[in-house]
């Protein structure tokens, strides 16, 4: 065999290669963290909660994922924190997996923040950290990925995956009834199938369709990427030469799905998206493609999480509610964006 044992030189070169990659990466970034485009709630004289209070430090950690939604989560959190004069924002990198995130969070605890906002890699694996922080007297705000243990968090704020499926199902169900289609052919392009959230979305979709007596004719799972969306959509269109409605779970992969639909010159059906990206909302407003609606799962929840974390740290409640403290659980409802309301939602697109 021609294999050499990795020598010291090999290790040096390997290190050099990775180092070069890192240096290049640092030089070529064109990331724009423009806070003016992020989804924040600004100061408002009529809102008692925005009045400056006790100075607090908010610790924040979210995975460094290569997905637009997670990127929006982090930039929203940062932007919202900078909107408050009484908030110091301390972000720690969450690294590649739950173990790395745990290590990063341990260093964060040592800095004694007043509250921690956390989007865990995995709710189950970070549950123990939540317990530990709460025991140490630091309230934990869990963002989107729930801890199984109710003692592990002070506040849970998350989107509604099941509700997303339900919203998409109802939109399609109503549209089919309005068109008087007795047994419509409905396709579904899901996201990464191994994720629980994908299963919840699909279940919500199927349950809502069932109330109209409809079911999904063909379901393909893509990978949340445009190229995988294109591939699955192209095959789905082959399998269903006549289609009445299509739900695509994710607007990012939807770019590929729409490309496949355009390439196949198909327009006999309506399509519903998912998540609520800026491009999808613009496409819906323009009304020039089969995309007629999208159901939200908005990363604006990160902005809200920071606002609520601030109130928790300051010991204040939500001004509109009677209670003197912030509630323990908030589940955002999944909203349906159509041509009619697209202009109001455009600022929430990411």
């Amino acid at each position: 065999m021609r294999m050499n044992h990795p020598s010291r030189r090999s290790l040096l070169f390997g290190g050099a290669a990775l180092g070069a990659g890192a240096v290049l990466a640092a030089c070529t970034s064109n990331e724009s963290n423009n806070p003016t485009t992020a989804q924040t709630k600004g100061a408002d004289a009529s809102n008692a909660n925005t009045a400056a209070g006790k100075a607090v430090t908010i610790g924040f950690s979210a995975p460094a994922a290569d997905h637009g939604w997670i990127a929006a989560i982090t930039s929203n959190a940062k932007a919202q924190a900078s909107a408050y004069s009484d908030v110091t924002f301390k972000q720690v990198e969450a690294g590649k997996d739950a173990a790395a995130q745990r290590a990063a969070l341990d260093t964060l605890i040592a800095e004694k923040p007043d509250v921690i906002v956390l989007l865990p890699h995995d709710g189950k694996e970070l549950n123990a950290f939540g317990l530990k922080a709460m025991e140490a007297g630091i309230p934990v705000v869990n963002l989107d990925r729930a801890f199984p243990d109710a003692l592990a968090y002070r506040l849970q704020i998350k989107g509604d995956n099941y509700g997303m499926g339900v919203a998409a199902g109802h939109y399609i169900g109503k549209a089919m009834k309005a068109k008087n289609i007795a047994s419509p052919v409905i396709g579904e392009i899901a996201g990464m199938d191994e994720l629980e959230l994908t299963q919840e979305r699909s279940k919500g979709f199927a349950d809502a369709l069932k109330t109209y007596g409809f079911k999904v004719a063909n379901r393909r799972a893509a990978r949340f990427t445009a190229d995988s969306g294109q591939k699955e959509a192209q095959n789905l269109l082959q399998a269903l030469p006549k289609l009445d409605a299509l739900w695509n779970h994710d607007d990012d992969q939807g770019i590929g799905v729409l490309a496949a639909i355009t390439a196949a010159s198909r327009s006999e059906f309506l399509m519903v998206g998912g998540a609520g990206s800026k491009k999808a909302i613009e496409d819906i407003a323009a009304d020039k493609s089969v995309l007629k609606a999208t159901v939200t799962y908005s990363p604006s929840m990160a902005s809200s999480a920071i606002s609520l974390a601030r109130l928790i740290a300051q010991g204040r409640g939500m001004a509109d509610l009677v209670e003197l403290q912030v509630p323990k659980e908030i589940i955002l409802s999944s909203e349906t964006i159509t041509k009619e309301n697209a202009s109001t939602y455009l600022k929430l697109g990411f």
Binding site: M1, R2, M3, N4, P6, S7, R9, S10, F13, G14, A17, L18, A20, G21, A22, L24, A25, A26, T28, S29, N30, E31, S32, A65, D66, H67, G68, I70, A71, D193, A217, N218, R219, R220, A221, R223, F224, T225, A226, D227, S228, G229, Q230, K231, E232, Q234, N235, L236, Q238, A239, P241, D252, I255, G256, L258, A259, A260, T262, A263, K279
Partner: protein, 338 residues
């Protein structure tokens, strides 16, 4: 591997490759026929329509196009005794680089140049580390996989970059004489690859180095420079693949082309390329790619879940390698007897 077996292997190579590869390719055509028959049994309504059947075949070929071009490069690398795990990441990097707003402002030419240059340079960097830095190919290209995906994520700011260039987006929707442009690009790439492998000294040197690098060096071949060129070729193919994928998806992102490295290697392996190098055919690799593409298509037509599809894919890879080993063993036994 001892000198004895490699001599036998090379003896076997001259004698058996025409029939061996012919049988294997016929076997893969057989698999395609079986897939077609299964489809026709499950969905007679679709397969009874000849227009649909022709169109579906073109869809299968079109979906094989980008990964097919990449597999041409990977086949060369494997025949030359190496491995390239970075191809998916290089496609993502080349795709992202060519679709930044800055690159898009240079028009289609600038985007194509950027993708091809980024792919080739990154591939050459692989080759440099392996040939001159003496890194094991597995490690060098694994490092490139991680670094290139990271760089792609950094450049794109983790966002999906939409291509606003109508020429690039139009490549995937253009048909020439009814054949999708992407399929034509694949056919040209495969033909060039075939000529390069079978009709040039470059190809013969690749086989020689993959069979026995030391013997090739003693025979006067500049093994290091050739290895560098092989990885650069693989990177070039990734750059072309990136353009094709960007055109299909009208966008690029850091997570694109997920696991393309495994698909390309698997296609080459079931097409008859020896993982230890020294033997393989472009035609076989192309059949390998088309078989995988046809399986994905059939599973969609039959509305079967993706997880079953992945298990079937894995099973086929294991089966192909098993057959390869059994045939190889019986061949060596044949040559040892006298």
């Amino acid at each position: 591997m001892t000198a004895q077996t490699s001599v036998v292997e090379r003896g076997g190579w001259w004698r058996t490759i025409p029939t061996e590869s012919l049988w294997r390719n016929l076997g893969l055509v057989g698999v395609l026929v079986v897939l077609f028959v299964i489809g026709a049994i499950i969905r007679p309504d679709l397969y009874g329509d000849s227009d649909w059947v022709v169109n579906n075949m073109l869809v299968i070929l079109q979906q094989a196009a980008a990964i097919g071009v990449v597999t041409v490069g990977v086949t060369f690398v494997i025949i030359g005794g190496g491995i390239d795990l970075s191809v998916g990441a290089l496609i993502a990097l080349a795709g992202v680089w060519s679709t930044t707003l800055a690159t898009q402002s240079y028009g289609a030419g600038g985007m194509i140049f950027a993708a091809i240059a980024v792919g080739t340079i990154a591939g050459a960097l692989n080759g440099l580390l392996i040939a001159y830095g003496r890194l094991v190919p597995f490690i060098a290209t694994l490092a490139m996989l991680v670094a290139a995906r990271g760089l792609a994520a950094q450049i794109s700011g983790k966002q999906t970059q939409v291509s606003g260039n109508q020429f690039i987006n139009g490549i995937a929707t253009t048909r020439v004489a009814g054949i999708p442009m992407l399929v034509i690009i694949l056919a040209v790439a495969a033909a060039l690859g075939w000529v390069l492998l079978n009709r040039t000294t470059f190809g013969r040197r690749t086989v020689a180095i993959g069979s026995n690098a030391e013997a090739a060096r003693l025979a006067g071949i500049n093994v290091r420079r050739h290895t560098l060129l092989l990885y650069a070729l693989s990177g070039l193919c990734c750059g072309i693949g990136a353009i094709m994928l960007t055109s299909l998806a009208t966008s690029a992102q850091a997570a694109a082309a997920e696991l393309y490295e495994l698909d390309a290697i698997a296609a080459a392996i079931i097409g008859g390329t020896l993982l230890s190098g020294g033997r393989g055919t472009i035609v076989g690799s192309m059949f390998g790619v088309i078989v995988f593409s046809a399986i994905t298509n059939l599973f969609a037509i039959a509305n079967l879940p993706t997880e079953v599809q992945n298990m079937v894919k894995g099973g086929i890879i294991v089966l192909a390698v098993l057959i390869q080993q059994i045939r190889f063993r019986s061949l060596t036994a044949l040559f040892r007897k006298p």
